[in-house]
């Protein structure tokens, strides 16, 4: 293999690796939709809900997730 071919192969590999990384990030972002983000906030950040319904807030958050998937997410699609 000539030096030129080796460089070309490395260059192509680098481009493919970068492209793969970008695709991976995009896939991750798409996966974390509006309802998933809202659920994460409800589970970990919303202190008011934990105070109001200790022990039940996980169910409350999941109910909100199902609601979001049915009522709000279609518009995002």
């Amino acid at each position: 293999m000539t030096r030129f071919n080796t460089k070309l192969l490395r260059g192509l590999t680098a481009v493919l690796v970068f492209y793969g990384a970008v695709l991976g990030i995009c896939a991750l972002s798409l996966d974390a939709g509006i309802c998933e983000r809202a659920l994460r906030m409800c589970l970990f950040e919303d202190q008011e809900i934990r105070m109001e319904m200790p022990g039940f807030y996980v169910l409350f958050c999941l109910e909100g997730y199902a609601f979001c998937k049915r009522y709000i997410d279609p518009s995002e699609g």
């Binding site: 909100g64 049915r70 279609p74």
Partner: protein, 323 residues
Amino acid sequence: MNIRTWTVVSAFVAVVLAGAPFGRAGGDVPKIVIEEALSIGTIDDDLLYQLTGVAVDSDGFIYVLDGMDYSLKKFDAGGLLVGKTGRKGQGPGEFKAPRLLDCSGSRLFATDQNNPGIQVFDRDLTFKTAIPCRSAVQAMRALGPDKVAVLTMRALGASSLQVLNAEGTLLSELSFADPKAGLLMDSASFTALPDGSFVIAYLFQDRVERWTAEGRRVWSRAVLGPKKVPTTKMDSPLGSLTLPTETCFHDIAADSRGRLFVLGGRMAKNAARDVFVLDADGRLFTTFTLPDTSHCLVIDGKDQLYVRANEGITLKKYRMRYE
């Protein structure tokens, strides 16, 4: 006629007979055409902000729960706003997150995600009483002016379909869900049929099922085809959760002929727009597609269809014509 000729003739007849039903079915596939009859709410008026629940009474009055206005609104059959009640709060006649609405006789039944129980109003929108219900309600149908069926959501164990009287006393309970199915997999909507049976459409499973009031499953159908609902994993204070991420069916309603109209979710070809029409035995009768996405589907006594449009700012009424 020798054996060879018999064989050829028999094969020909078999092919013709086998092909005949498909030919008939192909030629006679029924079609439902929807024609807009009414549109309530536009981006320029303040009639609706985010419709969540819709119900229609026997006189054609239309009732809407508005999630961003914390209110219950009444429109006449021509779309004129004739009444409004409610404000943000947790007291009688108040709402924090209004969700489901149904009507039977002189009574309206409304649920709120953040306020437990079911609020009961008369058709003039006067608050009458609240039916206590300890579990979260994910679907509801009025079975009479003093009887309501609710599909509950439980922290532990599977959901069930409960029939309650006006005092909240449990009259009967239908355990339809598989407790091993996974988190949220028993989320569903349902409709009640005149013979007392229920048809359940799952939110995260490609399943529509008919159950008798006594708890016997009459049939179970997959409608969307061989697609698996995708899931995602998420950490939570209770450990790792596996959550379904795409919806199968958003709502179900029955018309006066007993046909079932099932609104497809994100897993349908046209997300939240495809309507699958099944006969009473669960066989696919036909399909049609709504012009806009919806989360709900209501059919009135005249078999007119009500769905949302413009992300909840508009309510559309359609006439359905069979071709």
